[in-house]
Subunit: 359 residues, 2 copies
């Protein structure tokens, strides 16, 4: 795809991403490590490009969801610890070995499988343990840890480097669940320290957790995800056509917008098939030449119509594109208008954009 | 990605897609042609695979949104007419020529640019004209057509093979806008017939239009899109972990689900980062061993938790995956629960699934 052929441009500022990471590293201090969570193709932004930029900035700990994501990342992060949060899916042991990847083991079965491989090969294998402290999602429960304590042989061939958990309500510092999860995490770590032969690092906080002021939540390693992309991403779509509409004329599927008077409409080369949320129909807006242009009618799969009646014709003529989100129109605000969160909008962005990486 | 490494499986039945296409072709009759709309990577299902299956089934007219989509399709559809609905974006003329693709011209500027190339090269270039009959989206307006009629030289180097428009309300046969658009379309075609040297075909209806009983809407070519995928797609996600929850325990971000009693929770390897709509949080359900398992808590980026308390433990043990949508849980119903339409869910599905093509 060439820029001429494309409908929209996604600009990803790798320097800003590296700066965001450095800022977090500085904030948490030298004794701790800022990792980078690059699952879901680095939240849709390209894990290899983002991974390489962060590796060059000094990041040496990465997290992905799947082993295939981790294997791709290994190409650009040769010396880093790469953890796989979904753990050891059945029959993927050799994929981990091949690229020196670390499973975040979250069930007794995963612990047994990984330990079994170590036993069979007579090697000690690196691993992390996931403990569930209140998400009820992934991780060993308090009961699983009790069972492990009774039979520490289950970890004989494992080098547990890290114990991981995840906060449910860290976006709200006042939520008492934070303190409750911290306590459960400390209890689990204390129990594990008594049974494991070597010490391990601890990681409890992702983006929201490392924004908490209370340093107890930082532990040894923080795992920022979306925090890496603050002010680093923008999206523009081409204006394909500008047409006049008469009073009474309607826009889009279902004729949900009726023009109340003579109007001017711009059609943009972006739609919900590109990940621009359909829930913004008749609700969201874009910026053209710095002016708000409200979305009129339903967003189509490949097209969006916006009202540009109030925008100066000359300004319009000089604007080949509209800003979908970016420095003047924060992604967070767009996502909120769409009834969702920036994470969902980012990760649903299409592969159909022309991508511009600034470095 | 191997099946073992993957979190979820998207199964695409190419035979069923070909059958769906054949059924439409039979329904509209021999004198008309059923095309296939394969924009947005064939609604997220893989345009090259789907295109090849339809080409082998006999389809010889395709529509895409962008020229790069059309160029990729040309590889598997060597003898077909491939139309590009977004028309002639500036400086893409040679991309059209190179792969013998046909722009659906929607503005006077596009008509002029394509005609100019014909003039310069002294060849007659194939084209379609898009006329706007009520979407206020893309296409020549009645006024543009008047202007063209006054100066037909503007099309001198164009072989207009097809005139295209698009219905706004064809999902409702009773909506009077259908009849209004039909009339405007017939008027536009009549005007164009008077000025163009050769006759052309007409296309007004996409999926909803070709489901109308009134044959006048079929014209010469119908353009089914989502109709091709009826009962042809299913999605399953792996169960990563099953855990017990106590009364009072909460699930997921924001602790939005509180378990009222001792419960069993399955964690699925799918999340909104895969295109599983976050709006299904605490609202949607999946099927495990044929039983409904309601989504509890917010859907995460890579994970979804479902309540499986009421599902027999043995049945659970024998079910490595959950049905997200498919034969027993129609995509349309899932989309409707999520507050959107099947088109949006399909086109937002992730590239992270392991894809199984049945042929």
């Amino acid at each position: 795809m060439t820029p001429e052929q494309a409908g929209a441009f996604l600009t990803i500022d790798l320097n800003k991403i590296a700066d965001n990471w450095r800022e977090i590293q500085v904030r948490i201090g030298d004794k701790r490590q800022a990792a980078a969570v690059l699952k879901t193709d680095a939240y849709g932004l390209g894990a290899e490009k983002v991974g390489q930029a962060l590796y060059e900035a000094g990041c040496r700990v990465f997290f992905t969801a799947y082993v295939f994501e981790a294997a791709a990342l290994r190409e650009v992060a040769p010396e880093a610890d790469i953890y796989v949060l979904h753990g050891l899916l059945p029959h993927t042991e050799l994929d981990f070995l091949r690229c020196n990847l670390i499973p975040v083991l979250s069930t007794p079965r995963q612990v047994a499988d990984w330990n079994h491989l170590g036993h069979k090969e007579d090697i000690v294998l690196p691993a992390a343990l996931h403990v569930d402290t209140g998400m009820t999602r992934l991780g060993l429960t308090a009961r699983h840890i009790e069972a492990l304590a009774k039979n520490p042989e289950q970890c004989k061939y494992l080098d547990i480097k890290l114990v991981v958990s995840h906060l449910a309500c860290a976006d709200n510092p006042e939520n008492e669940k934070n303190e409750d999860q911290l306590k459960r995490f400390e209890d689990a770590c204390a129990k594990l320290r008594r049974i494991l032969p070597k010490d391990f690092k601890e990681s409890l906080s992702a983006t929201d957790g490392c924004r908490l002021e209370d340093e107890r939540f930082y532990r040894d390693i923080v795992r920022p995800g979306i925090a890496l992309y603050d002010n680093a991403v923008s999206l523009e779509a081409k204006i394909l056509q500008i047409q006049e509409a008469e009073a009474g004329q309607t826009a889009g599927y279902g004729a949900t917008h009726v023009f109340s008077g003579k109007s001017r409409v711009a059609t943009l080369a972006i739609g919900y098939g590109d990940g621009f949320p359909r829930s913004l129909s008749n609700k969201g807006y874009v910026l053209i030449a710095g002016h708000k242009a409200p979305i009129v009618g339903r967003i189509s799969m490949d097209l969006t119509t916006v009202d540009v009646t109030d925008i100066d014709v000359e300004a319009l003529r000089q604007s080949p594109t509209a800003e979908i989100f970016g420095s003047s129109l924060p992604l967070k605000d767009v996502a909120s208008l769409a009834g969702t969160i920036d994470y969902e909008v980012l990760t649903n962005l299409s592969g159909r954009f022309y991508r511009i990486y600034l470095d």
